[in-house]
């Protein structure tokens, strides 16, 4: 028994051994709320991709400046023909990709034609549809030919979707981005952080900062904690506006407030009654109080808007007065439309804080106007599928983050179902506007048209709140595009501690694992007989196989399309379909199951849909966080439970026992995530002893391990106490006393070894729980562990990752129960003999 304990413990310690090297660097840690699924900006619309790679790794012909104007980038200058159908671009000289490939006119041609080619998965394919051809004049000159005039072509080319890519590396940019920018990818710990390192062969001016670390902190609380604890240097798109008041009081921090391109609207299903009636739509527009929404849902951060148009975009007109808050008028309009008693509607929202909080405020405001709203929160993938894809909704709230996206009102099959030839005519006129003044005035008409038709209820433009340490300059305050251009950032007077970077050296995990398993089985066969061992292994393998069927079947019924999720709001259906096919999502179910299970046996868990890397790698990466966490929590819980349980049993009925029982009861009842919260408050924010969140070595595991261990320790201590009391009443303990042993000796020598047996069972149940059940704790501490990987993968519909993670966790449970079975049989000579005799009862 002791032998097994020692073996398992040392094996797990070997697995968990952290090896981190110190890397002193000029380094900037940037917090970003969302992790990009992959790093190819030309495939998939996730804003999170641009937040990391825009300008830093990938560059386009043009670029946007912080105030939203178009500036030259890889193109030095450009001009349009009078008819607006051909544009000539002059390119910079001496530009190279970070793999050494040269950038020239051919590259431009390749990059642009790739967007519009059949089978393209570019999310903005529709925007670039007018691009008919790209003509190479000389290596430094190209002419773009259009099928119809596109007045803002230079602006569109500044988008990340039009980034310049090299033919050699275009296919693999998702995981190994090759761009012309200042930085290259050096390390990506999925779910945790991503590091860019400065190019030594950069063709232009070298930046001051050598390393950029993007740390993914989606949880507002974790973001707050990380900023307070100084774990991040800058958080340009800070997700917790409610904490700004507190941060402003900190002289070491600078809080900035700008505007993003995010337009939050309450969309109405124009194709469906009653919202096909303009009076109803206008009634709802009158019923809402924008400022109250901004105050209530966004803590006052954000600017009201009156149409689908950014306040910082050229040609903006203020239409916020078009529908003043007027409940009486709203009711009148509803009565006119035939709803004297008001109406009922369902508001189906995506799972985002802005949507949820806005919904809570809007429900109240609409109720005042007799519109009774029922809120349903959908998961993001379900929202995309049901609301965005199949238009099954009355009302929804969503933030449109693409700049200048008024063209969606001209799309015939868009989700809010608006169709108005008058608007389409305006849209065409904008694109063919002969001069800038006309264009701007036409854009104003366009905004007015959308507002007049009350297509949607326009709520507010999101603020972009930034926080950074004093001494850092050059971070964008506004975000005319979702990006963190760090190329111009300088820092002064920031004392950065030595940063810990996880060692990327990987151990041959699977061989170590197999070796340990083999050793375990050999030991078992030696002590308990081959027959017993074979029977146990067969039983557990059967459980695993059954579990694999259940997991696979369960995931087939998950609604939502992973491809749609990856492509985002503006993606064309064609691109989504292409991606589906690429991901192998359209084969027959049985074949997919068999190929998945077949892969499992060879250690191939498939390739993640979103991260586009092998799932096995992802899982092992996360295990290096989850395993040490689980093990330290397990060890901590045993170390706490052992003395507590023994003392309580020894002094049963005494004051000490009563006190310890109270402690155990409290420990069992306290929700571990609440405990985690309190621990962060005390030790990270208050005392600053430990990092508040994120993963940077073993110290960041102390608090979560404690939060996990405390309730487990309480349970364990209670089981131990009960079990000890049971055995203390057994005859052999009395025999021991009759031999002359003291109470303590009888307890330690005779009762404890027997009392361990039920404790072992509970321990076995806890181990997998600690590994898997820590989703919530991992969220609280924003740790890149297995639980969070699975949680994210579920919401991103990355089925293959979910399958893999759950399978690994099930395997862990099964393995632990095998170990417990063996430990049991070894610890209890009766079971050992029963095993050797073939398990007869």
């Amino acid at each position: 028994m002791r032998w097994v304990h020692a073996l398992v413990a040392s094996a797990l310690l070997v697995l968990a051994a952290p090896a981190w090297a110190e890397v002193p660097q000029s380094r900037l840690v940037i917090g970003v709320p969302l992790e990009p699924p992959h790093l190819d900006p030309t495939s998939g619309a996730a804003a999170a991709i641009d937040e990391v790679v825009y300008a830093n790794v990938f560059e386009g012909l043009t670029r946007l400046t912080p105030n939203g104007t178009v500036a030259p980038s890889l193109a030095e200058s450009w001009s349009a023909s009078p008819d607006g159908l051909s544009w000539t671009f002059r390119l910079k000289h001496g530009v190279t990709f970070n793999d050494g490939t040269a950038f020239n006119a051919e590259t431009v041609r390749f990059s642009l034609m790739r967007i519009v080619a059949a089978g393209s998965t570019n999310a903005q394919k529709a925007l670039f549809a007018p691009v008919r051809d790209v003509q190479v004049i000389d290596p430094a000159t190209v002419v773009i030919h259009l099928s119809r005039p596109v007045a803002n072509l230079p602006y569109l080319l500044a988008w990340g979707d039009a980034a310049m890519v090299s033919p050699q590396s275009a296919a693999t940019n998702g995981t190994r981005p090759v761009g012309t920018g200042l930085y290259t990818l050096s390390r990506w710990q999925r779910g945790g952080e991503l590091e860019l390192v400065r190019r030594e062969d950069y063709w232009g001016r070298a930046p001051q900062t050598q390393r950029l670390t993007f740390r993914f902190i989606g949880d507002p609380a974790a973001a707050f904690a990380a900023v307070r604890a100084g774990d991040v240097d800058a958080f340009p798109n800070y997700p917790a506006p409610e904490t700004i008041g507190e941060l402003k009081r900190d002289p070491a921090l600078v809080v900035t407030q700008g505007l993003s391109e995010g337009k939050v609207i309450m969309a109405m299903n124009n194709a469906r009654a009653p919202f096909n009636d303009i009076r109803v739509r206008r009634a709802l527009s009158y019923a809402i109080d924008r400022q109250a929404v901004i105050d209530g849902a966004m803590f006052g951060f954000g600017q009201p808007i009156g149409s689908h148009y950014s306040r910082q975009a050229e040609g903006y007109v203020d239409l916020t007065g078009r529908y003043p808050h007027d409940v009486a008028k709203a009711r009148r309009l509803l009565t006119d439309a035939g709803y004297p008693n008001g109406l009922d509607a369902t508001l189906r929202i995506p799972p985002r804080p802005y949507a949820r909080r806005s919904a809570e405020v809007l429900v109240n405001q609409l109720a005042a106007a007799n519109v009774r709203v029922k809120v349903e929160t959908l998961e993001w993938a379900q929202w995309l599928d049901q609301v965005f894809g199949r238009k099954q909704f009355d009302l929804t709230i969503v933030e449109h983050v693409e700049p200048m996206d008024y063209d969606i009102y001209g799309r015939t099959d868009y989700y809010f179902g608006y169709n108005n030839p008058a608007f389409d005519a305006l849209l065409a006129a904008v694109n063919t506007a002969p001069d800038e003044a006309t264009r701007l005035s036409l854009l104003g008409d366009l905004q007015r048209k959308i507002a007049d038709d009350a297509v949607n209820v326009f709520l507010f433009q999101s603020a972009r709140i930034g926080v950074h340490k004093a001494g850092i300059n050059g971070i964008w305050i506004n975000a005319p595009i979702a990006a963190n251009d760090m190329t111009g950032v300088t820092q002064s007077g920031i004392a950065r501690g030595t940063a810990n970077a996880p060692n990327t050296k990987t151990l041959p995990w699977h061989w170590i694992g197999f070796g340990l398993l083999a050793a375990l089985l050999a030991f078992s066969a030696h002590r308990l007989g081959a027959a017993w061992t074979a029977k146990k292994v067969a039983g557990h393998t059967a459980t695993l196989l059954a579990a694999s069927v259940v997991i696979f079947a369960l995931l087939q019924v998950l609604p939502g399309d992973p491809a749609a999720y990856m492509m985002g709001l503006n993606a064309s259906p064609e691109a989504v379909a292409t991606l589906r096919q690429q991901m192998g999502l359209d084969g027959p179910i049985i074949a997919r199951y068999l190929s998945w299970v077949g892969g499992l046996f060879s250690g191939d868990f498939g390739t993640s849909y979103t991260y586009q890397t092998p799932v096995a790698g992802l899982i092992f990466e996360r295990l290096s966080v989850s395993l040490p966490l689980a093990i330290s929590a397990l060890i901590a819980s045993v170390l706490i439970a052992l003395p507590v349980g023994v003392l309580a049993a020894r002094y049963r009925g005494k004051t000490l026992d009563t006190g310890l029982i109270g402690l155990m009861q409290a420990g069992i009842a306290i929700p571990n995530f609440w405990l985690g919260l309190l621990l962060i408050l005390l030790f990270s924010v208050g005392l600053g002893w430990f990092p508040a969140g994120g993963y940077s070595g073993w110290t960041s595991l102390l608090l979560p391990a404690l939060a996990l261990a405390a309730p487990q320790a309480a349970i364990l201590a209670r089981v131990l106490r009960t079990s000890l009391l049971d055995t203390l009443g057994d005859d052999y303990v009395r025999t021991a006393r009759a031999k002359g042993l003291s109470k303590n000796a009888a307890l330690i020598r005779h009762a404890l070894p027997n009392a361990w047996i039920p404790v072992l069972t509970v321990l076995g149940l806890q181990a997998p729980f600690l590994l898997a059940g820590s989703v919530v704790i991992e969220n609280v501490f924003s740790l890149p562990g297995l639980g969070r990987l699975a949680f994210q993968a579920v919401s991103q519909r990355d089925l293959i990752v979910v399958q893999g993670v759950v399978m690994v966790l099930v395997a862990a449970v099964v393995l632990v129960s095998l170990v417990i079975d063996i430990a049991y049989a070894v610890a209890d000579p009766r079971q050992r003999d029963a095993a050797l005799n073939g398990g007869r009862k």
């Binding site: 005859d731 003291s742 005779h750 009766r830």
Partner: protein
């Protein structure tokens, strides 16, 4: 000077006095039996000597061992006494040894604890003690675990443990009650022999008067925490002087009057033909080992109005045979017939009719009634077996209760509100209520105190005589078999090895198994009974 003197020992737990004014002494080399019915305070007296009474107990009086006043010692000082000066053997061989510790370590622990010697020396001492306890090497290695031994062997380990330091006083608390007669005799031989050899005192706590008579020098009768009488052991046979003693002897010697013999042509109620019951053998890696033959080719037939005994050592298959007879256990060979009909071929409806004919009564009266059911409910359960439900079940229940000597108002009670004897009567009433032809009794009187046993046996004998109900008795107690059965069958390892009229078989046993059983059975009054 006496080895042990207990003077005016009283013990109170909460508000109830459990022992009052116990006086008891043991001389060197003397064996004293402490005899009493369940709950009389025997074990508590033993624990008092060791100073292991419950924490909240209040004790007064004196306990003096070789001039040392044990009652004045604190727990620390007592720790030096226990195991070195006093050795104790408890009742349950199954639970008295630590299941996860080898027997060698458990015996050696006493030595190491008291003498602080090395593990090696202690184990050598343990080896010696086990040898003395007739557990010789190499068959009984020090590295065996308790579960690898039989009950009797485990009790020897316990004796080795108690005796390894050759203490001046040994206490054996019902150390042999859980064993069958053969093993009981062997363990008692060892225990008494050891005490005599070491000139140590032995306090033998028993409830069986015959054991006390055969083994002890003196007996102390105890009842409700009070000593009733102290007398030489022979007085158990010759006559005790106290009223309680007299009553006890009377009950122990009370047997139902003999019944007239039943005609040979009486109809057969139940029989087995070449019945074999197999249990699956141990599973090997491929296939299974040979099956275990719990019942092996047994033929048995019970005639109306007869009483048959079934005896044999523990684990010989008696209970399995009974269960097969009741149709509670499938058989793999042969037939079990009730009134000529085979259980295996009977339909569900026919099985119901068969069940009515044959009803069991079990050993433990506490376990055979559902503790949550009233007596009336338990008694009405078998009524479902009748072809039509009686019109007035309550009256039937009342009548049946009276038949077993219980008042009708017991019908509304719950089992825990009754004494063990009353519960056993209820169990009997439940068996009787369907008016069966055969009642099978699995050790049905062994757990009862002698006075209760006497009454139950009278009742059974009356049923057999007056109602023609056949009885099948399984018992270790040859005295019960002798007095109550007409015929006896002896089982060994699943087979019937000897059978015949009870008188003949017990008077001149032929088969070694029978001879062992007869020889091992202690007798209360050897002079008046013909020794086999």
């Amino acid at each position: 000077m006496n080895l042990l003197d207990i003077r005016n020992l009283s013990l109170t737990l909460g508000s109830s006095p459990l022992l009052s004014d116990i006086n008891l002494s043991i001389a060197e080399g003397e064996i004293v039996a402490l005899v009493g019915e369940s709950g009389s305070g025997k074990s508590l007296t033993a624990l008092s000597i060791l100073g292991l009474t419950p924490d909240h107990a209040r004790i007064s009086g004196e306990i003096v061992l070789e001039g040392r006043a044990l009652h004045t010692l604190d727990d620390r000082a007592m720790q030096a006494v226990r195991g070195r000066d006093i050795g104790m053997v408890f009742q349950e061989p199954l639970s008295a040894l630590n299941p996860v510790m080898t027997i060698g370590d458990q015996v050696a622990e006493v030595v190491r604890h008291h003498q602080g010697c090395s593990r090696k020396d202690a184990l050598a001492a343990a080896r010696l003690a086990l040898d003395k306890a007739e557990l010789p090497a190499p068959r009984f290695g020090l590295d065996l675990y308790p579960h690898q031994l039989s009950g009797g062997q485990r009790q020897r380990v316990a004796i080795a443990m108690a005796n390894v330091l050759e203490p001046r006083l040994l206490i054996a608390d019902e150390a042999t009650s859980a064993l069958d007669p053969v093993n009981q005799a062997k363990v008692l031989d060892l225990l008494c022999g050891t005490a005599r050899h070491n000139k140590a005192g032995l306090l033998l706590i028993v409830h069986d008067l015959a054991v006390a008579r055969e083994r002890a020098d003196r007996v102390v009768l105890i009842r409700q925490g009070c000593v009733m009488e102290t007398a030489p052991a022979a007085a158990l046979a010759n006559g005790l002087s106290s009223d309680y003693g007299k009553a006890l002897i009377a009950d122990a010697g009370h047997w139902p009057p003999p019944r007239p013999t039943v005609a040979n042509n009486a109809p057969v109620v139940a029989e087995t033909r070449n019945v074999t019951r197999l249990y699956a053998g141990s599973r090997k890696l491929w296939g299974k080992g040979p099956p275990i033959r719990a019942v092996d080719n047994v033929n048995l037939s019970v005639q109306r109005g007869t009483s048959i005994g079934l005896i044999g050592e523990s684990g010989c298959g008696k209970s399995t045979l009974l269960r097969a007879l009741c149709g509670l256990e499938p058989v793999q060979g042969g037939q079990v017939l009730v009134k000529g009909q085979d259980w295996a071929k009977a339909s569900v409806g026919e099985q119901r009719a068969l069940r009515r004919r044959i009803q069991p009564v079990f050993q433990d009266p506490g376990a055979s009634l559902d503790p949550r059911w009233t007596i009336a409910r338990s008694l009405s359960e078998p009524l479902a077996l009748l072809d039509k439900r009686p019109e007035n079940p309550d009256a039937l229940i009342a009548v049946t209760l009276q038949q077993v000597g219980l008042d009708a108002h017991f019908a509304n009670r719950l089992p825990h509100q009754m004494s063990g004897g009353q519960r056993q009567r209820v169990a009997l009433a439940r068996a009787l209520i369907t008016k069966p032809d055969l009642i099978v009794l699995d050790e049905a009187v062994s757990a009862l105190d002698v006075s209760v046993r006497a009454r139950i046996l009278d009742l059974l004998s009356g049923l057999c005589r007056d109602h023609g109900i056949a009885l099948l008795f399984v018992s270790h107690d040859l005295e019960v078999i002798r007095r109550l059965t007409d015929q006896v069958l002896v089982m060994e390892a699943g087979r019937i090895v000897e059978q015949g009229t009870t008188e003949t078989v017990l008077a001149s046993p032929q088969h070694p198994a029978t001879q062992r059983l007869v020889a091992a059975t202690p007798r209360l009054n050897p002079e008046t009974e013909p020794k086999a």
